[in-house]
């Protein structure tokens, strides 16, 4: 286990990536933020059927991790998954349509906010069960190994999932078989209302990697560069046949767990303190963008979300006559 306390130097990465690709990452983060804000607004307007889990404040974790991987790699993620899905390059129109339960959505309106997948892009889907995707990652890793491709799978879960038995079974199996899996824990400090400091009696979730004989690393999840480097290292290790890594990205959930959460378990000051560590603003500063440039990009992202919403709202509802489709192959 290494606690990566030393923040990476942004300039090294920016030179390596080039200006345009670096700005693209900012745009992705802004798109996620705009999507989530619109989701919240639609809920307030009573336009949504179900609940949702917003990832505002966790954008660098999603975008940095995704950028460290290659096309053809696999993604499994969790209920707070809009950000990962957008970071993976998903079509925001189809995502918004799914969010609104429309027939044109990624899952034809059957999955909704918690179950967006894009199988064609090897996005194997978000999971509504805490820790539910982790054992599945073992199977994906096994399949990659048996098919002898150079793919990896990243499975994203929260701090809450690290206390499920499935987490432990899966890390162990991945370790003994050297599977190409990145176990990516977004520690956003709370499993619903349970603070991680009360739920886990060790300093870092990544320490648990020791028990399974694999590397564990904790990074600042609001630092896109740190996230990128940790996931890149884990992916290289996996591709080289050296097995899985547990990466813990420490971040913070700005909003409540879901829409019914009144957040009685935490103080306003705590939230405000984390909002000062806004991953988007921080990355924009590294890019040396001034406020006006950032606001212009923010406006563009919002405009794109409006277009997606227009697409979704004008899309048809699923036909009731198709209700039983897709249960069996």
């Amino acid at each position: 286990m290494t606690d990566q306390t030393q923040a990476p130097d942004p300039q090294t990465y920016l030179q390596q990536w080039g200006h345009e690709p670096a700005v693209e990452l900012l745009k992705r983060m802004l798109l996620i933020r705009a999507f989530e804000e619109k989701a919240e607004e639609l809920y307030a307007l009573g336009k949504l059927h179900g609940t949702m889990h917003l990832s505002i404040g966790q954008e660098a974790s999603a975008v940095g991790a995704s950028f460290a991987l290659k096309r053809g790699d696999y993604l499994l993620n969790h209920h707070r998954g809009h950000g990962h899905c957008l970071a993976w390059g998903s079509d925001v129109d189809l995502m918004m349509a799914e969010f609104l339960g429309k027939a044109t959505g990624y899952c034809r309106g059957r999955g909704g906010s918690m179950h967006i997948a894009n199988i064609e892009a090897n996005n194997l889907g978000a999971n509504g069960i805490v820790g539910g995707g982790i054992p599945i990652a073992v199977g994906v890793g096994l399949s990659i190994k048996m098919r002898q491709t150079d793919q990896v799978v990243i499975v994203i879960f929260g701090d809450g999932a690290a206390n499920e038995g499935a987490f432990h079974e899966s890390l162990n199996m991945a370790s003994i078989w050297d599977l190409p899996i990145i176990f990516y824990c977004e520690n956003n400090q709370y499993a619903m209302s349970m603070p991680v400091r009360r739920a886990i009696n060790i300093e870092h979730i990544s320490q648990r990697a020791c028990s399974y004989g694999i590397p564990g690393v904790t990074v600042d999840g609001n630092d896109l560069f740190a996230v990128y480097q940790a996931v890149k290292d884990a992916a290289e290790r996996a591709r080289a046949g050296r097995g899985p890594t547990l990466v813990e990205a420490v971040t913070y959930r700005w909003r409540g767990h879901s829409k019914s959460d009144r957040q009685a378990y935490r103080k306003r000051e705590e939230v405000k303190a984390w909002q000062k560590k806004d991953p988007i603003r921080r990355y924009a500063q590294a890019l040396a963008l001034d406020d006006q440039e950032l606001e212009n990009l923010r406006a563009q992202a919002r405009e794109r979300i409006e277009q997606a919403l227009a697409f979704a709202e004008s899309s048809p509802e699923p036909e009731v006559s198709t209700i039983l489709e897709g249960i069996y192959a």
């Binding site: 194997l124 054992p135 599945i136 096994l142 162990n172 199996m173 249960i327």
Partner: protein
């Protein structure tokens, strides 16, 4: 005619499928050198090696998850749960993941795998190694449930299950593993969703699953001496369930008895009975549709108590006599 045991028939199927399809592999506890707790995979590791006959730690959720993930990415895994009882530890993965992935994702994903598991009592293994939990899986849309009763069907149904594009719960019976019967050498398929009439008769339709098929056949021999003719139907797959031969049979006999080992309350028998009375066979019924099933209790250790906890040949005989004699 060549005879094999039920376990040998399953093994022959696995060997044939694994020879022809590199996407098929086995994963489970002690299935390698040990050969599986009931010997089904004995020797397969010699031919296919540890990369395709994968021994796992004691991690049933992990085994199920490994099957799901591999299936989602193009493989056709065959998982083994050592005793059906232990599938309780895999339930989240099976019920909330395997069964729902395709539907939740708009019909765009496939999860083709088989999870084999031995069920049933009669081995003195007591309450935690004798469960018959098939009804739980029948209750979950998205899963298929198969229960072969003969070596012939075991081989053919397993092949069909492996090449099916859905998650299939494949329930074997411990007491059947050593039973022998005719099994063709060639690879063949017994399609999922085809009930089989295993004995024709005019007086009473008996729908029996798994080991209850052979017990019903024994009962039928005894009853035939009294002039009572049972018609016995083995659904073979509980999901999808082929009701047609059952309905046709009840129209002919006017009486129906459903027999299974699992406990009666909430059991599969209730489903079959309901479907019979909901069908056109209702007008032909001359007696109530009855269920003969395991007592509503855990399986006891004591040999005599264990014997009496689940239907035996004499129970089927007595129940059939009552139904045909109009005493119920």
């Amino acid at each position: 005619m060549r005879e094999l045991s039920y376990a040998e028939a399953l093994r022959e199927c696995l060997r044939q499928v694994m020879r022809e399809d590199p996407d098929v592999f086995m994963i489970g506890e002690d299935i390698g050198v040990y050969g599986g707790a009931f010997g089904v995979s004995a020797g397969l590791i010699d031919e296919f090696g540890p990369d395709r006959i994968i021994d796992t730690p004691i991690s049933e959720a992990g085994i199920a998850g490994a099957c799901i993930g591999a299936a989602l990415t193009g493989m056709r895994p065959v998982g083994e749960i050592q005793f059906m009882d232990f599938v309780t530890l895999s339930m989240e993965q099976l019920v909330l993941q395997a069964a729902k992935i395709r539907f939740m994702f708009g019909g765009k994903a496939r999860v083709p795998f088989v999870l084999r598991m031995p069920a049933g009592s009669g081995t003195g293994a007591a309450a935690q190694h004798s469960e018959s939990l098939e009804a739980w899986f029948v209750h979950v849309p998205g899963l298929k449930v198969v229960m072969p009763s003969t070596p012939h069907d075991a081989k053919g149904l397993l092949r069909a299950a492996i090449y099916d594009d859905n998650p299939v719960i494949f329930v074997e019976h411990k007491l059947l593993y050593k039973t022998r019967g005719h099994v063709p050498e060639d690879a063949y398929t017994v399609p999922l969703g085809e009930s089989k009439t295993v004995r024709e008769g005019k007086d009473l339709t008996v729908v029996a699953t798994s080991i209850m098929v052979s017990r019903a056949l024994e009962a039928a021999d005894l009853l035939a001496e009294e002039g009572i003719e049972l018609e016995i139907i083995d659904p073979r797959t509980l999901v999808p369930l082929d009701m047609e031969p059952i309905v046709a049979s009840v129209k002919k006999t006017g009486r129906a008895l459903v027999v299974h080992e699992a406990v009666k309350t909430g059991g599969f028998g209730g489903e079959v009975a309901s479907r019979i009375v909901e069908s056109e066979a209702f007008d032909y019924l001359e007696a109530p549709v009855r269920r003969l099933a395991g007592l509503d209790m855990p399986i006891p250790y004591n040999r005599t108590l264990e014997y009496h906890a689940v239907p035996q040949v004499e129970n089927i005989v007595a129940e059939a006599r009552r139904l045909v004699g109009g005493v119920y």
